[in-house]
């Protein structure tokens, strides 16, 4: 089988073809072998569809678990779990006021794995709200939203709002008491928005009260419209990370590493064979990105370091959700009774801060203050233009910004705690002990 010896290779026999079938099929799918040298390591990102979103090399600072805490990745993996369990749940769910609740009972009682699928979906949803917010807080506290990452920050805030809307539309679907009254209250809050409020409320509910039309609308939003927008948004979010020069890092991280040579920059070379050839493509990318041979190299190949870190994060995330789902069952309240709201009627924990604020003033608590917070989040990178304090947790230079952000967060946490533990029947203040 040596082409050098014989220009026309001998026709392989059928037996040989059959014998080599598994190997040939494998090689036709995976052109790159398991990497054993730097060239093959860099080729993993180019030759595998699922890996090609990754850069060939990644900055060492980006791999520090203490910097990112892996929160963005965890959010994404939770989203993947939600999509998969959600699609499975769709096989048994019917968005009808007369059937939805019974289907919930079926999932609990008769459908194989129905219980654990619903648990996984519920806990991942709660987890995603929490982790997406923590991710946002991480990016804020490390000043990672600054130029050139302003737009990706804005996109991230949009994704956070979509995540909240996703969970909001999701919890009408079981058609239990919590579902019905939370959506009644939530759509009424939308009704307080100036000018368009009443129209939005009418559009969301498809009528004047929460009923079959509202259930169908929320279902369509939850299983089709929002996941599609969220998927698109996440894709752009990831794409922008690379186009913006990878994850944020402090300027020190790009300093010349203490290598054995201290040659002038013009003659500096990056260690490793084939380096120029392999990442010549990256020379086309504008912006602060590692260019081979031009800047000091603090990077490592994505294979295996980055992929291993991602796999580790995925396994941890999935395990945590599985354990939670085995230990705790997703709550299901009484079926809807449109005559009697539960007393007190409480939203899920992440909206309890909002509900507590709404109990003082529907407009300011439900529309005014949240809008101010969201607008502040959106414009932060365009107001805070100083380039100092990027890539460090709680940098001294960012004391003011971090304090303002923390104040909002703590205020919300306090409201959540009051709403959760200190509110009794008729939303009266009670002591939890």
């Amino acid at each position: 089988m040596s082409p050098a010896a014989n220009p026309i290779p001998p026709k392989p026999g059928l037996l040989t073809a059959l014998k080599e079938l598994p190997k040939n099929v494998w090689n036709s799918i995976f052109r790159n072998p398991l990497p054993s040298n730097d060239l093959e390591k860099s080729a993993t990102s180019f030759t595998n569809f699922f890996l090609h979103i990754h850069p060939v090399k990644v900055h060492k600072h980006s791999l520090k678990p203490t910097y990112t805490l892996g929160l963005g990745l965890i959010s994404f993996f939770l989203f993947v779990i939600l999509i998969l369990t959600g699609i499975l749940l769709m096989f048994y769910y019917v968005p009808s006021t007369t059937q939805a609740y019974d289907r919930m009972l079926d999932l609990r009682g008769t459908v194989a794995f129905g219980m654990i699928l619903r648990n996984m979906h519920r806990w991942s949803a709660h987890g995603m709200v929490a982790v997406v917010f923590l991710h946002l807080a991480r990016v804020f506290f490390t000043g990672a939203y600054k130029k050139p990452r302003e737009f990706n920050w804005v996109l991230g805030v949009v994704l956070f709002l979509l995540t909240l809307f996703m969970s909001f539309t999701g919890y009408l679907l079981p058609w239990d008491q919590l579902a019905f009254w939370a959506i009644t209250v939530g759509t009424a809050i939308a009704g307080y928005a100036p000018v368009v409020g009443k129209d939005i409320q009418f559009l969301l509910m498809g009528g004047t009260s929460v009923g079959q039309e509202a259930l169908l609308r929320f279902y369509v939003l939850h299983v089709a419209v929002l996941p599609a927008i969220l998927t698109l948004g996440i894709s752009i979010h990831f794409w922008r990370i690379r186009k913006d020069g990878g994850l944020s890092r402090p300027p020190e991280a790009d300093a010349t590493p203490a290598l054995e040579f201290s040659a002038p920059a013009a003659t500096m070379k990056v260690a490793g064979p084939e380096s120029r050839k392999t990442y010549g493509l990256q020379g086309l990318v504008r912006g602060p990105i590692t260019k081979a041979g031009q800047v000091p190299d603090n990077t490592v190949f994505s294979w295996p370091d980055l992929f291993r870190a991602e796999l580790f994060t995925f396994v941890i995330t999935l395990s945590a959700i599985l354990i939670l789902s085995l230990l705790f069952n997703a709550p299901l309240e009484e079926p809807v009774n449109i005559l009697h709201p539960p007393n007190p009627a409480k939203a899920p924990w992440y909206f309890l801060g909002l509900q507590e604020m709404v109990s003082y003033s529907a407009f300011w608590g439900g529309i005014g203050i949240p809008t101010i917070f969201v607008v502040l989040l959106f414009i932060t990178p365009y107001i805070d233009r100083a380039q100092t304090g990027v890539g460090k947790w709680f940098a001294k230079e960012r004391l003011l910004a971090n304090t303002i952000f923390l104040t909002f967060v703590l205020a919300n946490i306090v409201f959540v705690i009051i709403g959760t533990f200190f509110r009794g029947p008729n939303w009266a203040f009670v002591m939890p002990w």
Binding site: T184, S209, H340, P344, N426, W427, A428
Partner: protein
């Protein structure tokens, strides 16, 4: 456009052509933008229901004799509370004006379980975040002797129907 075509063979042809091209570009952009706006608006028109499938807003609640003097009866499915004092009768909404929960009848009037709004017997706000009093609906005595409520028409609180 015909004028432009004739001139394009002259010396200023290239400038003319560029201008025409630019105008065509503008028109194309405008057309695409307009279509985008149109389709967005059509989508909103589409998802805004023309007919709703809920209960009718105008309905009969029974004979006056069903509500003897002194009655404060809630009609759950209609989100109504019928109040009769002597020969005066009225229908109040039991939908909280804050965020739409159903208020319960309490000793002093009405109380909302969702965010703690409180109302007195006439539906006036006495506490909590509710921005408006509970609405009073138009109540009429139909020719067949039945009381008829129209939830589309709010009347001044305190105006009873005399029987």
């Amino acid at each position: 456009m015909a004028v432009n075509l004739k001139r394009s063979s002259g010396t200023g042809a290239s400038t003319e052509q560029i201008q025409r091209r630019r105008m065509l570009g503008w028109l194309t952009g405008l057309g695409l933008f307009g279509s985008g706006i149109l389709s967005a608006v059509s989508n909103f028109v589409f998802i805004k229901p023309r007919a709703t499938y809920g209960q009718p807003q105008r309905f009969s609640i029974g004979k006056p004799d069903d509500f003897p003097p002194g009655t404060r009866a809630t009609l759950g499915a209609r989100s109504l509370c019928v109040v009769r004092e002597g020969n005066k009768i009225a229908a109040l909404s039991t939908t909280c004006t804050h965020l739409g929960c159903i208020v319960g009848v309490s000793d002093t009037g009405f109380a909302c379980p969702c965010h703690g709004s409180r109302f007195d017997q006439d539906g006036t706000v006495t506490g909590g975040p509710a921005p408006r009093p509970l609405p009073w609906y138009k109540l009429t005595l139909a020719p067949n002797g039945e009381l008829e409520v129209d939830k589309d028409i709010e009347i001044t609180p305190g105006s009873y129907l005399s029987l």
